[in-house]
Symmetry: C2
Subunit: 499 residues, 2 copies
């Protein structure tokens, strides 16, 4: 038994070294690699990915996991969870015929290029055949799992967020539709007569960089164990808690774009930096489910970063680091960073309309998988839903159904995690406010109190505990969307002075 555990650890270590190298290559590709060097870097990624895959699909590794799973009573909690996760993962992969798995990998790799071109040319028809195949593969793979009592889309959703299903999501989105869509209409009515006042002005990139670094540090990101850089699409990479990396994108005349993007990624980064030391070196030493991870970034971005108290804390003591703030009255700033304005692009949406964008994607995914929506019809379906929920219709598919890369990568069932992140965030925020005076801490710059609260309840557990279990334990309830909807209604009714 000891021998097997030791060997398992060795192979996991080897996999970690390869996967971390892969992480650095991806980081380099996004932040550094020169244009003509990308081909070689991509080849290197392909090669090392294969090496990592070879380890976990090797006869030796499969037998080890099988043996340890059969004897898991003798393992400690951490090892048992590792083995359970791994066995489940292997079980899933083993049900897919290898040649189909390979075919699908090649399809998604190729489709990203196809999507890019289709988006550039604003031509959905270039993309749709590949998209059909990707949905077909996802449906087929879900069927292979052999869970006859479950709906196909539920099997898919469960992969990204354990325990999530259409019943729960339908309930959430139906509440959202019922409450937020009318609220949005009221706000739009009010907005009609208000002049647009813009807080964005040209701020040179170096000044933006300094302020963004200040923000990450102020929120609690540790630069001894992390770095920041620029990339086209902001993301967070973690090798382990001692090497966590954030990127952002700077736009000279929209300084608040990089600011909220930085706060968002800092939320992901703090999560990773606070994973418990006892998990280091295990497969559990990283953040939990996708939805929970997103809850931390959204919590920092919205509940903290778009609150009055947070900016009061900065204005009072730290205004020197970002001189442009002196030109903006704090009330105006607060109102403008919370301006509601339906728009076409999900990633640029304000806090209120964001989840409506997710709802559209959710309904479409579900419709396709249930056979109620044809892929050929997607552009019209998309635009109709935009009209209905957001009251605006994109003029091009580039700003509509072609805007996101996710489906091209095979990420079907992934979008709902973004909405779940918001729901978890609001539910956690509701509990946090009972435990301490969050606003007072923010006004006094005591961000460590907030960071500490999250660490002790969520971050230290890494992947050791399931999200549903954690949420129940922390908040005393299951996933409960009402906190999110109440939070939005309260906040925006106040800002827009609605009754």
């Amino acid at each position: 038994m000891k021998k097997e555990v030791k060997r398992f650890r060795e192979l996991i270590k080897e996999k970690k070294l390869i996967d971390s190298s892969l992480g650095i290559l991806q980081w380099d590709l996004e932040t550094t690699t020169p244009r003509k060097g990308k081909e070689l870097l991509s080849e290197m990624v392909g090669y090392l990915s294969m090496k990592s895959y070879d380890i976990v699909t090797s006869e030796e590794f499969l037998n080890l996991v099988k043996f340890l799973k059969a004897n898991e009573k003798e393992l400690d909690d951490i090892q048992r969870k590792e083995i359970d996760d791994m066995a489940e993962e292997i079980e899933k992969i083993s049900k897919i015929p290898p040649h189909e798995y390979q075919e699908y990998s090649e399809l998604t790799a190729k489709t990203q290029g196809v999507w890019e071109e289709a988006k550039a040319k604003n031509d959905f028809s270039m993309f749709k055949e590949n998209l059909k195949k990707i949905f077909e593969f996802n449906i087929k793979f879900a069927e292979y799992q052999g869970k006859k009592d479950k709906k196909i889309y539920d099997i898919i959703l469960d992969e990204y967020e354990k325990g999530m299903d259409t019943e729960k999501l339908d309930e959430f989105f139906s509440a959202l539709r019922g409450e937020i869509v009318p609220l949005l209409k009221k706000i739009m009515e009010k907005n009609k007569n208000s002049k647009i006042s813009c807080i964005n002005r040209t701020v040179n990139i170096d000044e933006q960089k300094k302020f963004n670094r200040f923000l990450s540090e102020y929120l609690g990101f540790d630069f001894n164990r992390g770095v920041t850089a620029e990339s086209e699409h902001p993301f967070t990479l973690n090798l382990d808690k001692n090497d966590v990396r954030l990127t952002t994108k700077y736009i000279e005349n929209i300084p608040f774009s990089s600011i909220f993007s930085t706060i968002h990624e800092t939320g992901h980064g703090i999560y990773e930096q606070q994973v418990g030391d006892d998990l280091q070196g295990t497969t559990l030493a990283t953040g939990g489910s996708m939805g929970l991870h997103e809850s931390q970034s959204r919590f920092y971005e919205n509940m903290i970063g778009r609150s009055m108290s947070f900016w009061k804390g900065i204005y009072d003591k730290n205004i020197d680091v970002f001189p442009v703030l002196k030109e903006i009255n704090i009330d105006k700033l607060y109102r403008e960073i919370n301006r509601v304005e339906p728009s076409f692009i999900r990633t640029e949406a304000d806090e209120l309309t964001y989840s409506l964008h997710i709802m559209i994607r959710y309904e479409i995914e579900k419709g396709i998988i249930n056979g109620e929506i044809e892929i050929d019809d997607l552009p019209e379906v998309w635009n109709k839903k935009m009209e209905e929920y957001l009251g605006v219709v994109p003029e091009t598919d580039r700003d509509g159904v072609l805007q996101d890369v996710h489906w091209a990568c095979g990420l079907i069932g992934y979008f709902p995690s973004y909405a779940l992140g918001n729901v978890y965030a609001a539910q956690l925020y509701n509990t946090m406010k009972k435990d301490m005076d969050v606003n007072s801490h923010l006004e006094n710059g005591k961000l460590d109190r907030i960071k500490g609260w999250l660490r002790d309840r969520i971050h230290i557990y890494g992947k050791l505990r399931e999200t549903a279990e954690l949420i129940q334990e922390i908040t005393g309830e299951e996933l409960e969307p009402k906190y999110y909807i109440e939070y939005l209604k309260e906040k925006y009714s106040k800002i827009y002075d609605l009754d």
Copy 2:
């Protein structure tokens, strides 16, 4: 035969993908990795290094090389050279008992840390026992080569620069000693009465960065196939001709430090970017010998970068990119970037005294290997030679014998390549001037003419041809130090108005 060539290519390809990944990890370590992430990155480097080593020491690879070497008449020129080099390399390694090779690798890895601490504490005694062992290993490994007719130091020198030996180097350094030491004394006599006028002034890093980028591009570095970044010690990394990376170090109040460092690394970079397309994917697709590589960086740094014509070309048309130049008269600039000032640190030495620093290291290495110098005596020996050749004596060993990391890494016999670089550069420059009006091209910003000359004669050949053969073909002579000495005498006699 075809089968074996194909398999050889596959293994070389695999090795290239691993080595390139290693390159990216090293790059990341020097430019990006957060402080506490360095341990993990170093482990990743160790792991992938082992994987690369495993390929070339595998039974299969050794047999392939043996077979192809035996049948090399059937190979084309490029493949034959690859196999020859590889067979030679394998032959060398195979003569060293594996456990000694491992022991030595561990020793040098450890000694770098020891050296760092010894340097920080200015304590040579901490370092000397490891240094003794490193020299002993180098001597032993040279003896294993079984070349009884050759001196030990000659065997070692030959590893870094094929065909190089103490006879040639003695001749060169003796000429240098005879001509440059007296010239330096005359200059110092003149300098006594001259006021120090300083061209360095505080220039913010962003402005320096812009100018450095301009310089690299102006010299001909292709940013579609390369990038630049900052690191503590400037270096050039090449994955292949499509991904070449340069670093520099910026010092706010010494802008000319990053400028000459950038020009130097750009010289290395242009070499790599111009390697022939027919060599891509082979082991020959990189610059030739260490000395030849250094000749290209020194040529750009000194013959080009420290010439009046180069700066005239910039002043006339491009002064806007670096406004600080407007404050400096070009004659003063020329004089100051060529100021001779004996100093303690090799890497900061001016063009004239640089090779004297190398001479000291050469004489010491030779003395230790021949049993004429004891390692215990190194600090005194060092200082005595500094006094004799440069007329200055460092006050601490940190600024003396402990300044360079090379010996701690096991790089015995490496220093002379730096001096050889200067000699090759001057010899090539002498020929280039016969082929075209270099100064006129510089004044007119036609840097592509210079780059093209170097490409056609040197760069496109990568590692395909031996340095000695190339130098003979291009200049019509063997390595001939007189051009370097004449170049220095002529240039500095003029600047310092000596007869």
